[in-house]
Amino acid sequence: MAGITFQGVGKTYAGNVNAVREVTLEVADGEFIVLVGPSGCGKSTLLRMVAGLEEITTGQISIDGRVVNRLDPADRDIAMVFQNYALYPHMSVRENMAYGLRNRRTPRDEIARRVDDAARMLELGPYLDRKPRALSGGQRQRVAMGRAIVRQPAAFLFDEPLSNLDAKLRVAMRGEIRRLQRRLGTTALYVTHDQLEAMTLADRLVVLNGGRVEQIGAPLELYHHPATTFVAGFIGAPAMNLLDARIEGGRVMLAGHDLGPARGPEGAVTLGIRAEDMHPAETGLPMAVDYVEELGSGRIVHGAIDGQPVALALAPGAALPAHLALHIAPEALHLFDTTSGKRLPDALPRPARTGVPA
């Protein structure tokens, strides 16, 4: 068990393609870090650099205080779970789990003990002598995790481990991974493109975009204080509404409505509002309703404010009129620079939200 340190880590592929640039990150011992971002953002490359499957072009990665840049994957004291499981098809579940230990010349009884422990933890006992092809997707995924657990590594690396499972199983396995990691207290790096998976699993999230870190922080911190429009648009379902607005005379103006005071440069600004922060009221910002997604526990209303698409989260209830008037609390506004997409931290007179809702 150990921390992982990234220092200015970068990866350049042949042809000067920068897949990862200047990633600096300190992962504490036992922490569950999720690397999240759209496909092609470099999250898998970053993980594979930790694993030793990709060379590190610049910077340094250390595991447990030891620089691992030039170490073989086998010597880095990590275990990896792959998206397609990568189980050895000709070996039984037991052999699959034991293979890494056998190669390390672990004593036979020690191997048997660890495999049995892992099998009990993952409820794989009845399947130990089966071949992977005789298992379901969820069971295969558990075998892949078992293979990682028996090694008792310094860190687990997960590369989109749940993408091949159906939605229901994915939720169940998500919980299982989280419980398992808490129980073992092993540092974990987890790559996913699914923001929901990222939010629910992570102690801290690392949002990547185009090979760069956009923001690092706890899930709710990112949710409530996105540092860029990219993070705002990526985290949360529905994503944060991003609207073109203006600051005029120290007020945030949208579609001719005054939404509250703002400091900062006059002119165009990107306004972010969470779908659940807008409430229908007697008077307010006019919104044209386009269509409604009923989710049972709530509903998502899609429409437009001033011709810009907007999603609104409401409690279930009566049918909606074609036009709504919305009230938005001034504290619920997020302002971003229109060109750089960066948050304007001092533009609003107080933090966008105080306290963390239960």
Partner: protein
């Protein structure tokens, strides 16, 4: 339910007959005496001389020196067939492993160089090969018979394609599991290639079994005669009033068919099993 189409069946039956009748004819004729065959032509019904003919063919010493028996020739053919098949599989697997998994410059040109040799049949290089073996004093040895033909572009090509279809994650998982290049090859690739090996074994065994020109050049000692040469020898006695021992030639031909048939039957089952059980 599907309708039975008489015409389709007729075509299938005809096709089967075309393939089977010559074999039946060879077997039936081998159970008649040479004189009967010479007078009446080929037979479709078995005769009475079968046991005697096969016994004679397997045990009687023949050839110019009167040293070599049918059993001996059968053994030689087997050694050649198995030696070819096993040697080619081992060699081409290792070559393909190097080509696919090791990043070295010119890997692709080297592969294409190997691949183009597919276009050159053995006969093209048979004289230089002979000379090399002769200078190495390997004429009339099993080594000389087998080794020069071991390099196999076909096998290398098949294994290369197969290795390329093995998911990269398997290699990566093995690397993280601490398996070095040799370990990965033996523990993962070889077991995964079983079906491929069976397929190549069938092809190469039959190829080796049917070799005619090369053994004829390489060996003068009749102790190294193969079945193929044995058949030829029997039919070469057209001198004076002697008629060739057709029945013996047929008997040898039937015997020559059995081992490849056996190999195909055994490995085909494995081959199909491997294909249908794969989970990809």
């Amino acid at each position: 339910m599907q309708k039975i189409k008489p015409l389709d069946h007729l075509i299938l039956i005809l096709g089967a007959a075309i393939l089977i009748v010559p074999v039946l004819m060879a077997f039936a004729s081998s159970t008649h005496s040479a004189a009967e065959i010479h007078m009446n032509g080929l037979y479709l019904a078995p005769g009475s001389e079968g046991v005697a003919t096969y016994h004679k063919v397997l045990t009687q010493r023949g050839g110019f020196t009167g040293e070599v028996t049918g059993a001996r020739m059968l053994l030689n053919s087997l050694i050649l067939g198995v030696g070819f098949a096993v040697g080619k599989i081992v060699l081409s697997m290792m070559a393909a492993y190097a080509l696919v998994y090791f990043r070295f410059r010119l890997a692709t040109p080297i592969f294409w160089a190997i691949f183009t040799t597919l276009l050159l049949p053995l006969e093209v290089r048979i004289m230089p090969s002979y000379q090399v073996m002769s200078q190495l004093h390997l004429l009339n040895t099993y080594t000389g018979l087998i080794v020069p033909l071991l390099a196999s572009a076909t096998g290398t090509f098949y294994f290369r394609q197969f290795f390329k279809s093995v998911p990269d994650e398997l290699l990566e998982a093995a690397r993280i599991d601490g398996a070095g290049p040799v370990r990965f090859f033996i523990d993962i690739l070889v077991p995964l290639s079983r079906t491929m090996m069976a397929a190549i074994f069938i092809i190469m065994f039959v190829y080796g079994w049917n070799q005619y020109l090369w053994p004829m050049l390489m060996t003068t000692d009749e102790g190294f005669f193969t079945l193929m040469r044995g058949i030829k020898t029997i039919l070469q006695v057209w001198v004076g009033s002697q008629i060739p021992d057709y029945n013996e030639a047929f008997a040898l031909a039937v015997l020559a068919m059995l081992p490849p048939l056996l190999v195909v039957l055994v490995f085909q089952r494995m081959f199909i099993k491997g294909l249908t059980e794969s989970d990809k």
